[in-house]
Symmetry: C2
C-alpha cells in the first residue's frame, strides 16, 4: 500500500458527509448480519494466524504465483466454488448474487516489495509481529478471507455478485498491473474495494483512520542522454550528456505546479559520465511526477517533456552540434482520480466505520484503487485492521489491536454496496454503458 503522507490538516478539509447512513442501521438490525459481525470477532485469532502464514509465503515483485495458489486454495476452502487465476496472475473467487445487480470487487494485493531470497520469517517480540509484508498486504488478504468465511457462515445473500480477489503487481514497478488487467478484462465491474495497510501511529494519534477515496497519480520516467564523448581538453567543444542533463534538471527545478490539486515533481536520482577527464557520453535521471488530478498530471508531464527537448537543443546549440540525444522510458504509470470521480463508494466506506463507532476520513493514496478511480469507476482503499508501521522496510511491524474492526467495516461496506437480499437494496449503481 502507498498511503501517502497527506497532512492531517488537509484531511480535515475533506468532506465528512454521509457519516450517518440509515441503510447501515437497517443492516445492523438483521440477525444474519449480527451473526456475521460476531463471527468476525470470533475469527480474529484465526485471521491473525492466516495473515502470518500468508506473509511467510514469499511473493516478490513479479513472482507471486506460490502465494496466489495458496490464496486460491483458501478461497476454495472457505466455500467458493468458482475460483481461478487469470493470465496476469490475479486470483478471482466469484460469489453469485441473488439477482442481476452491481458487480463489486473486494481485494487485497498478493505481492510485496521484497526481493526473492529475503527472509520472510515472522517473529513476535514485545507484543508486535515483525516480518516483511506482515501487514502490507498479508493483513488485507487475511481480512478478505475472514469476511468470506463470515458471509458463508451467516449465509448472507447479496443482491449483486461479489468477487474476492488477490491482485498481483501492486507495489513499485509492478505498476498496478494486476488491477489494470482485472479492470480491463472485466468491464462489468461496478465498484472496487482494496484492503491495504493498517492503522498508522499518526492515525491512532489523530483518532481516526484514513480511507483512500481519491487517487494520487504518478508517472515515472527515466531520461537517458547520450553524446559523442571525448577527452575533456582535447575534444573540448563536443557537447556533453551530463551538461544536457544539468540543463534539463535546472529548468525542471523551477517548475511551479498548482498546490491544489497537489501536483509535484522530483528528479530523484542521477548518474552519468565515466570520469573527470572524459566528456560524458551518457547520463540518466529518474523523474517522479505526481498529482491528485489526472489533467494536472498530464499538464506537468507535457511541460517536462518539452523542457527535456529544449535542454538537448540548448546543449547542441551551444557547440553547434546535433550529437546529443535523449531516450525516454516510462517506468511507472499510476492513474490519478479524474475530476468527475464518483465518491459515493468512498462515502459508504466512511459511513461503515461510523456504523461500528469508528471515525474515518477520506484521503488520497496510491493503491490498486488508482486504476478504477482513473477509469471513473467508484473505488476506495481501507485498512485491514490492527496497527503497524515501516512498510517497505525490513523493520515492518504489526500490532494485533482491535483488528477485527477491519473485516467488520469491509463486511458492512460490502453488504451496503451489494445489497442484502430482501432487506437492503444495493447502494452501488450498475454503470451506464457497461
Amino acid at each position: 500500500m502507498r498511503l501517502l503522507p497527506v497532512t492531517l490538516a488537509s484531511l480535515l478539509l475533506a468532506c465528512t458527509a454521509a457519516a450517518a447512513d440509515p441503510n447501515y442501521a437497517r443492516l445492523l438490525r438483521q440477525a444474519p448480519v449480527k451473526a456475521a459481525l460476531k463471527y468476525l470477532r470470533d475469527d480474529d485469532p484465526r485471521t491473525l494466524q492466516e495473515q502470518i502464514a500468508l506473509a511467510q509465503i514469499p511473493a516478490p515483485p513479479f513472482k507471486e504465483t506460490t502465494r496466489a495458489q495458496d490464496f486460491a486454495a483458501r478461497l476454495r476452502a472457505a466455500g467458493l466454488e468458482d475460483v481461478s487465476i487469470d493470465a496476469t496472475g490475479n486470483v478471482i473467487g466469484k460469489r453469485k448474487g441473488t439477482a442481476p445487480g452491481p458487480l463489486l470487487v473486494i481485494s487485497a494485493h498478493l505481492d510485496t516489495v521484497f526481493d526473492e531470497g529475503s527472509d520472510v520469517t515472522v517473529k513476535q517480540q514485545d507484543g508486535r509481529y515483525h516480518g516483511l509484508g506482515i501487514y502490507d498486504d498479508a493483513r488485507g488478504l487475511a481480512a478478505v478471507l475472514s469476511v468470506l468465511r463470515a458471509m458463508q457462515a451467516a449465509k448472507l445473500r447479496t443482491v449483486g455478485e461479489v468477487w474476492f480477489v488477490g491482485t498481483v503487481g501492486e507495489e513499485a514497478l509492478g505498476n498496478l498491473r494486476g488491477a489494470k488487467a482485472l479492470l480491463a478484462e472485466n468491464p462489468g465491474i461496478d465498484g472496487f474495494i482494496s484492503v491495504d495497510g493498517v492503522e498508522s501511529r499518526e492515525e491512532v494519534a489523530a483518532g481516526y483512520v484514513q480511507v483512500v477515496t481519491q487517487a494520487t497519480g504518478s508517472r515515472r520516467w527515466e531520461f537517458r542522454f547520450t553524446g559523442p564523448g571525448g577527452h575533456s581538453f582535447g575534444n573540448f567543444g563536443n557537447p556533453s550528456a551530463v551538461h544536457a542533463l544539468g540543463r534539463a534538471i535546472a529548468a525542471i527545478a523551477d517548475l511551479k505546479p498548482p498546490a491544489d490539486p497537489k501536483t509535484t515533481f522530483n528528479v530523484g536520482q542521477v548518474s552519468g559520465g565515466s570520469g573527470v577527464t572524459a566528456i560524458a557520453s551518457e547520463a540518466s535521471m529518474l523523474l517522479d511526477l505526481r498529482s491528485n488530478d489526472a489533467d494536472e498530471l498530464r499538464a506537468i508531464e507535457a511541460r517536462v517533456q518539452s523542457i527535456v527537448d529544449a535542454a538537448v537543443a540548448a546543449e547542441n546549440a551551444r557547440w553547434n552540434s546535433t550529437e546529443v540525444r535523449v531516450e525516454r522510458k516510462l517506468l511507472g504509470d499510476r492513474p490519478a482520480s479524474t475530476r468527475i470521480a464518483d465518491t459515493a463508494l468512498g462515502d459508504a466506506v466512511i459511513a461503515a466505520h461510523a456504523a461500528i463507532g469508528l471515525k474515518a476520513e477520506p484521503g488520497f493514496g496510491s493503491t490498486d484503487s488508482n486504476v478504477p478511480l482513473g477509469l471513473g469507476i467508484p473505488a476506495a482503499t481501507l485498512s485491514g485492521g490492527g496497527r503497524g508501521d515501516k512498510a517497505h522496510s525490513t523493520d515492518e511491524w504489526y500490532e494485533h489491536v482491535n483488528a477485527w474492526q477491519g473485516p467488520q467495516v469491509l463486511l458492512l461496506t460490502t453488504l451496503r454496496l451489494s445489497g442484502l437480499a430482501g432487506k437492503v437494496k444495493p447502494g452501488l449503481k450498475v454503470r451506464k454503458g457497461r
Copy 2:
C-alpha cells in the same frame, strides 16, 4: 605522461626558433661526446632490457617503493655514489659539476596508473612489447639510466651539477606530488627535464616529435551537495540536492572561456539521489578545469565557484529554505605555465633534436614539468625514444624503433644546459634569488 591531444595545426603555430644552435655543433666535435653518443647506440639493447625489467616491477599509485629502490640501485650500479630516496619517495642521484653552476634535474617518473595486483608481465608479439607502463614511464627511467652510463663511460665532466631523478606520483591522483616536493625542498634547481612517453603514431605520421615546453594546468574538484531529503510527494517543498546540482551544471555548461590560451571545463561525472520517490539528500559532481595559462585557470575557477554558490542559493530560495549546502574537495592540482615562462630550455631541447637530424615541435602537456613551469623554472618534457600508444590502458604497447635517439637527445641537451668542462659553457642560467 599526459601528452595532451593538441592538434597538429596548433603545434605548427608554435615557434620553431633555435633550431640551429652553434653550441651543439661544438659539442658534437668533442671526442668524448662522440664516444658517449656511440655508447648510447651500443647500449640500446641493454636499455630495452632494463626498460622491461623496470616495467615488471609493480609501481601502483602511491606504492612506488619497490621500483624506487630498484631504480636507486641501478643509479648506484651505474657509478653514482650520492643516491638517496627523499621523504616523498623520489629517488635522487647526484653527479657533481666541475664548478659552481646551474643545477639541472633529468628525471622520469616511477609510478603507473595501474592498481596493485595488476599483471605487469611484458609480452612480445608482432614486434611489439605489450605491458602496463611499458613505455609510460619505464622507457623514461631506462633512458635516464642509459645517459648516466654513457656520461660515466665517456668521463664527461659537466660544469653544473646534474641530478638523475625518479619521481613518484606523476599520474592521476598522484597530482605531481613527487615533482612538487622535489622543487619545494630544493630551491637550488635551475632547470628540469622530464623524460616521459615515446613517439606516437600521430607524431610518426606528422614527421616530428612533440616536446612539452609549456604546461596545461588543471584543477579538479568534487562538489557534494546535501539537503534534507524527504518523500517526493509528502515532503514536496523540501529543496533537493540533485536539483541544486542541475542548476550548477546548467550554468557551467554556458561558460565561454577563451580559445587562446586554450581553457576548458567539463562536468565529467555525476551521481546522486537514492531513488525516484525520494527528494535527493546528496548529489555529487566531478569537474575538470584546464588551461594553458595560470591566470585563465584561476579566472575560470573563480567563475565556477560563484556559479556553484549561486546554484545552492537559487535552490534554497525556490523553497524558502537554507538546508541545501555544498562541500568542495580539490582532487587535482596541476600548475599551468605562467605567461612569463622562460622557454629557452625548451628551445635547447628542440635544437638537440635538430643536432641529430630529428624534427621536434614545442607543445603543451601535463607532466612533471608543469611544476617547475608553474614556478617559472625552465623545464621541458621529451620522449624517451621508440614508439608506442595506448598508455593508461591495458593495451599499452611499445616498438623499439630508433630508440637510442631519445637518450642521445637527452645527453646532448644535458651537456648544452650544464656545460662541458673546458669546452662549452652552461646554457642554463643560475636563477636569481636562488
